[in-house]
């Protein structure tokens, strides 16, 4: 579904993605973690070409991103993206936030788009907030609307860049629950997050990045419990103060 081949990217003379090779299958859920500045955001933003790459190739659902003839609108319509700060349109109600792109990009009629948006609002548990403006919604509600907005394009891939790190702790789970059910439905997901519980439960693979490189990747226990690299170990113990084995034992 997504394939990085020897991808490199520089910001000026800063080498922020170093020879990235990564393949993500249809229906897989990948969690990316790593220290600040590792290049996690940059990596997932290259998937919908929010950031262009300088070298190598990324193939998304058969589309070659370095090919200038690739239809970016089509690519982006197939990829949903959820941001740390939600980025809802503040001048539009929840429902209008969701119907905008399906109407303008997919060409849905107002009624079709509204029907679809209402189903999605129901799915994320916010149909009663249908006409609320972003400022009237809590952070968790805003993020769920933002997820619904992305899903309204019926994407094949969903990208999440730290979707819960701007939220108050008590609001995190409502967002993770929506993401978990999405994963269960078979959505291909790439998630930058430090929510270890979510990663343990939902991720097929965890990718650990440091300084622009993928240092290691594997199943959640591989990375969280038995990391091979010293750098990964240090990061895990500094981020997750709880002993890692505790989290692991909660499974079954």
């Amino acid at each position: 579904m997504i394939k990085f081949i020897a991808t490199n990217k520089w910001f000026k003379d800063r080498h922020v993605l170093k020879n990235i090779n990564l393949e993500i299958a249809k229906g897989e859920v990948i969690v990316i973690c790593g220290p600040s500045g590792a290049g996690k955001s940059t990596l997932i933003r290259t998937i919908n070409k929010l950031e262009p790459i300088d070298d190598g190739e990324i193939i998304v659902d058969g589309m070659y991103l370095s090919d200038p003839k690739t239809d970016l609108t089509l690519l982006r319509a197939e990829i949903g993206m959820v941001f740390q700060h939600f980025n809802l349109y503040p001048h539009k109600s929840a429902i209008k936030n969701i119907t905008l792109a399906p109407r303008k990009v997919r060409g849905l009629s107002k009624n079709q788009a509204t029907d679809r948006a209402e189903k999605l609002l129901d799915k994320v548990g916010l149909i009663h907030r249908r006409d609320a403006f972003p400022v009237q919604l809590s952070g968790g509600e805003q993020q769920r609307v933002a997820i619904a907005r992305s899903l309204a394009m019926e994407p094949k891939i969903m990208l999440f860049d730290e979707p819960t790190s701007a939220l108050d702790p008590e609001l995190i789970n409502e967002v993770l629950d929506v993401m978990t059910s999405l994963a269960k439905e078979g959505m291909t997901m790439v998630v930058v997050t430090h929510e270890i519980g979510f990663a343990q439960k939902v991720a097929d693979r965890v990718v650990f990045m440091d300084d622009g490189e993928i240092l290691e990747e594997g199943t959640p226990p591989d990375i969280f419990v038995n990391p091979r690299h010293q750098r990964t170990k240090e990061f895990m113990s500094s981020v997750f103060h709880i002993p890692i084995f505790d989290a692991n034992q909660e499974e079954d």
């Binding site: 919908n48 929010l50 609108t73 089509l74 982006r76 319509a77 990829i79 949903g80 993206m81 941001f83 700060h85 939600f86 980025n87 809802l88 349109y89 503040p90 001048h91 539009k92 905008l100 792109a101 303008k104 990009v105 403006f133 972003p134 400022v135 009237q136 805003q142 933002a146 907005r149 992305s150 394009m153 701007a166």
Partner: protein
């Protein structure tokens, strides 16, 4: 010296002076309404040019603002009245000079180019106040460049800049009086005309002053109401940029 002016408040209300005042009010309102629309349109285009990634557009937009903002509005009104017809092919220029409403048209053009430079400045600052994430959200749902502007960026630019845009429009309203210099029969011109015909300028001018005060007051109230009405969406812009 003794103050021996005797007021005659009936004069401005008698024929033909009443007609001049009514025409003056009409022309002032036409100048104001027309230039509000045209300067908002032109100002928006210039603002978009100035924030464009295309260097030539950016340079052209900046040049526009430098030229039109740094030369007095009155100059542009005179320019469009006296000079502009001469720059056109002779037949067109003559047609303009013989067109009886040309003073009003020239006034609209002069006020527009002047006001648009300020409007573009205000809108540009509004664009800079919108967090990057707004455009990124629009891009990542597949919206094209024009759609990003028309549905996401411009509506927010107008909302965040409503107070300075409103103030700008009041300025523009007052500037309509400059068109008296090219004999556009707007309200200030009418009062001057009555003064020169009857020496009853004070009465006519007082009426005009009252009109300007009342109308500017109405405009300010409308702006305050609009701000209140749109406030709910504006305040969250800052929140999502946190």
């Amino acid at each position: 010296m003794e103050f021996n002016y005797e007021f005659d408040w009936a004069i401005p209300f008698t024929d033909p002076y009443l007609g001049m005042i009514i025409t003056g009010i009409k022309v002032t309102l036409i100048l104001f309404a027309a230039t509000t629309v045209t300067s908002l349109c032109l100002g928006t285009v210039i603002a978009i040019m100035r924030i464009s990634r295309i260097t030539i557009l950016r340079a052209a937009g900046t040049l526009y603002v430098e030229i039109f903002r740094n030369v007095p509005g009155l100059f542009w009104i005179l320019f469009f009245y006296f000079v502009f017809p001469e720059l056109l092919p002779e037949k067109w220029g003559q047609a303009l000079n013989h067109y009886s409403h040309y003073p009003v048209v020239a006034g609209i053009m002069g006020l527009t180019v002047d006001n648009a430079s300020y409007v573009s400045d205000i809108l540009r600052s509004g664009r800079l106040a919108i967090p990057h994430g707004q455009r990124e959200a629009a891009i990542s749902t597949g919206l094209g460049r024009v759609q990003q502007y028309s549905h996401v960026l411009l509506p927010q630019m107008f909302r965040v800049t409503l107070p300075p845009l409103g103030t700008r429009m009041v300025h523009n309203f007052k500037n309509t009086s400059l068109c008296m210099a090219i004999t556009a029969p707007e309200l200030t011109w009418a009062t001057q005309n009555i003064e020169s015909l009857t020496f009853r300028g004070i009465e006519a001018t007082s009426i005009a002053t009252g009109f300007y005060i009342v109308l500017a007051g109405i405009m300010v109230s409308i702006i305050i109401l609009l701000e209140k009405y749109l406030k709910i969406d504006v305040s969250s812009i800052n929140q999502s940029s946190a």
